[in-house]
């Protein structure tokens, strides 16, 4: 699977990570599979690059982590904090505004093509 173009991905991994972690705590591999599943593999990242995003979000207080031993393996689980929830709300509304604006432009092009 080809990775999604990075020019269109600025801020998207952060938004997706926060949204997925709103439902439950997850470790990195689990989170990447969740993102792939929810986006029907339209959004596909180099799987390792999710960790710097997670570390940075934890550093700014949006996430908290804990190490848990599961099936003989040590996993770092990440969970959303109240600050992360606020950040998710802000990013979600920005994304909705942007998507709506781009949608209007694309619709306009379609109308112009029809005329």
């Amino acid at each position: 699977m080809k990775e999604t173009g990075s020019n269109f991905m600025n801020g998207v991994p952060e938004l997706l990570v926060l949204r997925c972690l709103r439902d439950r705590e997850m470790y990195g591999y689990e989170l990447v599979q969740e993102i792939k599943g929810r986006t029907n593999t339209v959004v596909t990242l180099g799987e390792g690059v999710v960790y710097p995003v997670l570390h940075a979000l934890e550093r700014n207080g949006s996430l908290q982590s804990r190490r848990k031993a599961v099936g003989g393996r040590s996993r770092v689980y990440y969970a959303l904090t109240p600050k992360g929830l606020e950040r998710l709300d802000g990013l979600s509304s920005s994304w909705a505004t942007l998507a709506e604006a781009i949608g209007r432009v694309m619709q306009g092009e379609a109308h112009a093509g029809a005329v």
Binding site: Y27, G28, Y29, V32, G46, E47, G48, V49, Y51, P52, V53, H55, A56, R59, N60, R73, S74, R75, V76
Partner: protein, 258 residues
């Protein structure tokens, strides 16, 4: 035996990413790699194919490094400002250690009133529960600990910090030389009090210069002494040798445990 992510570890540390984040990143990548290999094997791949596919899905070394370097908040202070943590910081720490030592000695032996009553300074009496005969041995131990141990500990700390971060050698070398020379140059002289706790003669003074030693207040001389100069240089060399040993051990450990 080198691990699959060792080149990435070195690259990130040299670029200034905090060792704590690098360690966790590599551990998470290793765990993720194992999960991907299991997934690929379950999907019918052979072990070598599964490993190759897992590595490709994880991302190339460049991509993994770039993702980490794109997050400035994950950089350490040693990576961002080596001059501050490896040179200026240790120097200030040495001064702080000396200041705390002076405070400790003053708390121990007291702070007498001005014998001429010209200076209305606060007077601190030594604690009554501490026998006066214990003051000088405890104070001397504190003095030796800070004067001898301070530069050694701080120099070693600089070396360990630099080794952990794979900093360019120039910064820890400069920091250790500054700490070693300054640590060896400064000699503290304490005139311990007599039996009378209000004895105005006791005080703490110091001289700063590698070859010049003497209490300017009492001795009224600061003559250059080759013996003192040699002793200062030997102390500096010892400080540097201990820091170099700490650096060597830390680098050796990172190479053998990586």
């Amino acid at each position: 035996m080198p691990g699959p992510f060792d080149p990435l570890r070195d690259k990130l540390l040299r670029a200034g990413v905090a060792p704590v984040h690098v360690r966790r990143y590599l551990s998470e990548l290793s765990e993720h790699f194992c999960d991907l290999v299991e997934e690929e094997i379950d999907a019918g791949c052979s072990a070598p194919e599964a490993q190759a596919a897992a590595r490709a899905r994880l991302g190339g070394e460049e991509a993994l490094a770039d993702a980490m370097l794109a997050e400035p908040s994950l950089r350490s202070w040693t990576g961002r400002a080596p001059w501050a943590t490896l040179v200026v910081g240790p120097f200030l720490l040495l001064i702080l250690a000396w200041a705390l030592m002076c405070v400790g000695i003053i708390l121990l032996v007291g702070w007498p009133a001005d014998p001429n009553n010209l200076d209305p300074r606060p007077v601190w009496l030594p604690p009554e529960w501490l026998p006066r005969t214990w003051q000088q041995p405890i104070g001397t131990a504190l003095l030796d600990l800070v004067q001898v141990g301070g530069p050694l500990l701080i120099g070693s700390w600089v070396a360990l910090l630099a080794a952990r971060q794979r900093s360019p050698l120039a910064w820890p070398l400069l920091g250790c030389v500054v700490v070693a020379l300054f640590g060896a140059s400064l000699l503290w002289i304490v005139h311990w009090p007599a039996i009378d706790p209000r004895d105005p003669l006791h005080r703490i003074s110091f001289s700063v210069s590698l070859g010049f030693r003497g209490d300017s207040v009492i001795d009224h001389h600061h003559a250059f002494s080759v013996a003192v100069w040699s002793q200062g240089l030997c102390t500096s060399a010892l400080n540097l040798a201990v820091a170099a040993a700490a650096y060597g051990i830390a680098r050796w450990r990172t190479l053998t445990t990586a």
